[in-house]
Amino acid sequence: MFTWILRRMFQASFVLLAMTVIVFVGVHVIGNPVDILISPEADQAERAKIIAEMGLDQPLWRQYAYFLNGALHGDLGRSFVFNEPALKLIGGRMPATLELAVTAVLMSMCFGIPLGLYAGLKPNGFLGRVIMTGSILGFSLPSFWVGLMLIMVFAVQLGWLPSTGRGETAMLFGVRWSFLTWDGLRHMAMPALNLSLFNISLVLRLTRAGVRENLTMDYVKFARAKGLSPARVIFVHILKNIMIPVTTVLGLELGSTIAFAVVTESVFAWPGMGKLIIDSINVLDRPVIVAYLMMIVLMFITINLVVDILYTMLDPRVRLETKA
């Protein structure tokens, strides 16, 4: 297991390296940040000075070498725009996105699995059909529109929930979190629901399909033939089997939820990483883009690792082996 993890980390470092090369070349191809960042009134001498400060006078391969050298020492460069270390910039925004995404994924489990179980056990009942139809909406309605509707109903009409910002925060491990205060939770409710809507539908449908499939399995019939109560059959025999695909999908979805929370963050003015990256791309703020993407890649790698380890707990047939 330990060698297996080491091996995975080694592979991950190559993924990271490849990604940085792609971003460097990519940003270079899109345009020159100098044209955007330096005011048109600046004279030639000033231009040259700023360009030299940002290291943009060097050939690309040398810029990349500087970056790699810095990265090895934990420095991913300074933002061209804010003149702050890119990592610090992203780190400051990350907790907001992280807690939003994690809450959204937790919500999708809390709603998706029970609803899916119900719809799977009563596929022809009225409520079962309503749930399945509703999940189609969850899939297909554009997230920004749902966000606006939520604000319309719960913030404007009913006035129950605040529509923007993180609200009151509390410190934990030196970071500010919203989920620790009641006001923060109230602020998080709508954006988290908005973000989780797609995942709720996904988990719901996955669970339902799993239940339908499992119900026809011999081991479920055998469990019933043993005289077990329906509750035991559903919550032990069926649910444990369903958790395998649900964990896979949720693991992957956690990554994309974090990476693509941009829309929800914009609608609810949630001060997370999504807004930052959009702005950075607009002004070709390369250090921030690179740092952000490295974070995301790292996150995906970590999540996949955790999912693989979770697998071994859920499915006894899976054992992490060093050999391929």
């Binding site: 119900l215 399995m217 011999d218 081991y219 479920v220 019939k221 055998f222 469990a223 019933r224 033939a225 043993k226 005289g227 077990l228 109560s229 035991r232 032990v236 025999h237 444990k240 089997n241 395998i244 859920l314 499915d315 006894p316 047939r317």
Partner: protein
């Protein structure tokens, strides 16, 4: 001696969109304490559905539409689901065809065994575990204490079927329904399992219904045989009577198609055609389209003849003489 189980005019129909499938249509037989009934027929003849009807595991769109299933004088068809559950796995147990699918892949053997103990007996976990261990030892699983901690995938097919048998016999049931339990196993294991079940059931006076399509399996095992075709029992009687002096042309065909040493060099006889679709059974004898003896009279309901006491067949043209 009164019968452990008496099935009278049982009808189990499946109400599908395409029409009503009469999987079991007017089936009657009885099994006495310590007796073995062989339920023989091709795939789709309704023998498994008969088994599931007895243990009360017919799922929609299937339904028992008529007849009675008398277990020690009590009609199981009229029992509530709750009362039925107390009998299931306790007084009436079942083992399935495919041992690879019978055990839940994500639960340990001890979980799957102790839950079956707890379902019917109020006892401690330690006692349930001890019972499970003893049951495993009884069916010939080496070092049962350690094997309790294993998962199903760590057992071979034959061993899994032994575990399933151990689970089915945990509460010394009065009736065991074995649904082709050796079909998926290789021949040497088949013989072992066969001997094992036979021994265990005679030891406890368990009545056994052995469902199979393989006459050679049943020949040395069954006391009585019921031959099913298209949802009906076409011939029933003492095993020796049915096997040595079959009356119904279908039974004749079945026996004729079993390979044996004295028929070496001859062409194996087969029954022409396939089992008819149960959706559109014509009136009269269902076998007439494949029967070499069929005449126009077979389009009417065949009468029941009794060539010798306790040996009955439903046919207009009973065959006299010995088995092919």
């Amino acid at each position: 001696m009164s019968a452990t189980l008496e099935v009278r005019n049982l009808r189990t129909h499946f109400f599908t969109r395409a029409g009503v499938v009469k999987a079991v249509d007017d089936v009657s037989f009885s099994v006495e304490r310590g007796q073995v009934l062989g339920l023989v027929g091709e795939s789709g003849s309704g023998k498994s559905v008969t088994g599931f009807s007895i243990i009360g595991l017919i799922d929609p769109p299937g339904r028992l539409t008529g007849g009675s299933i008398l277990y020690q004088g009590e009609d199981l068809a009229k029992l509530s689901e709750r009362d039925m559950r107390h009998l299931r796995g306790n007084r009436i147990a079942m083992i399935f065809q495919d041992p690879m699918m019978t055990l839940n892949p994500v639960l340990r053997i001890d979980t799957q065994m102790t839950e079956a103990v707890h379902a019917h007996v109020k006892t401690t976990n330690a006692d349930a575990r001890a019972r499970a261990r003893d049951a495993l030892g009884m069916v010939g699983i080496p070092s049962p204490e350690e094997r309790l901690n294993a998962y199903p995938h760590q057992f071979s097919g034959g061993m899994r079927q032994r575990v399933a048998i151990a689970i089915a016999l945990l509460h010394n049931p009065d009736l065991l329904i074995a649904d082709e339990p050796t079909t998926a196993l290789d021949v040497t294991i088949q013989a072992q399992i066969l001997a094992e079940v036979q021994k265990l059931t005679t030891d406890h006076g368990t009545a056994l219904i052995w469902i199979t399509h393989d006459l050679s399996v049943i020949a040395g095992l069954a006391d009585r045989i019921a031959v099913m075709y298209a949802g009906r029992v076409v011939e029933t009687g003492e095993a020796t009577d049915v096997l040595d002096h079959p009356v119904h042309p279908y039974t004749h065909g079945l026996i004729g198609s079993v390979p044996s040493r004295n028929k070496r060099g001859e062409r194996l006889r087969q029954i022409p055609g396939m089992t008819p679709s149960l959706l559109s059974l014509p009136p009269g004898c269902a076998f007439r389209t494949r029967c070499t003896h069929a005449t126009s009279v077979c389009e009417q309901e065949p009468p029941t003849s009794e060539p010798s006491p306790g040996h009955t067949a439903r046919c207009f043209h009973p065959i006299e003489g010995n088995a092919p």
